[in-house]
């Protein structure tokens, strides 16, 4: 073998080694991504059926709409300042249009005060409006105007809420303000929240169907599947 041939031979081997290393590198990284995908996928699946403990039963004190006497109860733990909850708001309304005559809908507070500074006040605003029979009206307004009041200071947000009570709901604003600051109203919010914490709720929105936690439906089609099944179970096994 000449010197040149030797160098070529060496060069060839070096290239072969390099290609091999790169292939190994790709395999390693593909393995890493497969593992990450697997972990994310299995974490998502477990989410739906974690029943750490039941949530408190629906009582007279709960806010119920649609067909309140239905055996099929869709319950939402929600936060008025949560953008994800707001994105569910039109979806729930659409579900209500279709199933409102056959299904009951319950709203419970789960204000994540650590990241949503006006969420607790918003929950109190709905309860205070609820004292004058306008809970759902305030609920709708607060979701619709979320972007407006979410970044405000606590006092500005409170006066915006009072403004809604006065100008849009046309309720007795003096009574509303007293209720808004009252311990009774704060307790209603806290009670919802602590019941949910005990049941292991840690994010919003969280949905329960007949007391069982469900994986958040992504669209109305998923709601239909779940509700249709619950409705057919309710008719075959009336309680």
């Amino acid at each position: 073998m000449s010197k040149r041939e030797k160098t070529e031979e060496r060069e060839k081997r070096r290239k072969g080694r390099l290609v091999k290393r790169i292939v190994i590198w790709f395999v390693v990284l593909a393995g890493v991504s497969a593992l990450i995908f697997y972990l994310v996928g299995s974490a998502g699946k477990n989410d739906g059926d974690t029943t750490d403990g039941g949530i408190p039963a629906v009582t007279e004190g709960d806010w119920v709409k649609w067909n309140a006497s239905s055996q099929v109860v869709l319950l939402e733990y929600s936060d008025f300042q949560c953008p994800a909850c707001k994105s569910y708001f039109p979806l729930i309304n659409a579900v209500g249009e279709e199933y409102g005559d056959r299904v009951a809908f319950v709203y419970r507070h789960y204000p994540i005060a650590q990241i949503h500074f006006n969420a607790n006040a918003a929950a109190r605003a709905t309860e205070a409006a609820g004292m004058q029979g306008k809970f759902w009206e305030m609920h709708d307004i607060l979701f619709e105007t979320q972007e407006l009041w979410a970044p405000m200071s606590a006092s500005d947000a409170a006066s915006v809420f009072a403004g809604y009570a006065r100008d849009m709901l046309r309720i007795d604003v003096d009574k509303y303000l007293v209720d808004f600051d009252s311990e009774a109203v704060q307790n209603m919010v806290t009670e919802d929240f602590s019941g949910a914490v005990k049941a292991g709720v840690n994010s919003t929105p969280t949905f329960y169907l007949n007391g069982k936690k469900i994986k958040n439906p992504g669209d109305i089609e998923e709601f239909r599947t779940l509700l249709d099944e619950a409705l057919s179970n309710a008719t075959t096994n009336p309680q």
Partner: protein, 146 residues
């Protein structure tokens, strides 16, 4: 040629950073395709950022571009370590990625008013890769000139 390259450890560090960026981007991509619809939680905050209309380009999640970018850079760094002349390409890729990063951070800070932790990790690793390759390039030039 060998003496022009900065310390091997430095390049290996950059490879490690690119792997971190790669895993991070893969995680965000997996989340995009597999996870539940949006939620807010005490620990993770709200997924405003990863669910915003800016999180995809032509329906492809930006995180997926990140996956390929970090993969590409890690291979380039690998080749560079093996003595191939890829420094210019490396510099070009990390510089353009750095500008993309600046834009994405701008979106989070001023348009969405929300940050996502895994996006910040990616921003940090992409900035580190940019700074690292600029450093290598400058050092190689000084060595070549001196």
């Amino acid at each position: 040629m060998q003496q022009l390259t900065p310390s091997k450890i430095f390049v290996i560090t950059l490879i490690v950073i690119s792997v971190i960026g790669f895993s991070d981007a893969t995680y965000l991509t997996a989340k995009h395709y597999l996870d539940d619809p949006v939620t807010c939680s005490i620990f993770k905050g709200c997924e405003t950022v990863t669910e915003s209309k800016y999180s995809t380009v032509f329906n492809i999640p930006i995180a997926l571009f990140g996956v390929f970018y970090y993969l590409f850079v890690s291979v380039l760094l690998f080749l560079y370590m093996e003595g191939l002349k890829v420094l210019k390409l490396l510099l070009l890729s990390t510089t353009s990625a750095f500008f993309v990063t600046l834009f994405l951070v701008y979106l989070q800070a001023f348009v969405l008013n929300a940050f996502c932790m895994f996006c910040i990790i990616s921003a940090v690793s992409s900035t580190a890769l940019f700074a690292g390759t600029v450093y290598i390039a400058r050092k190689s030039r000084t060595l070549a000139e001196g």
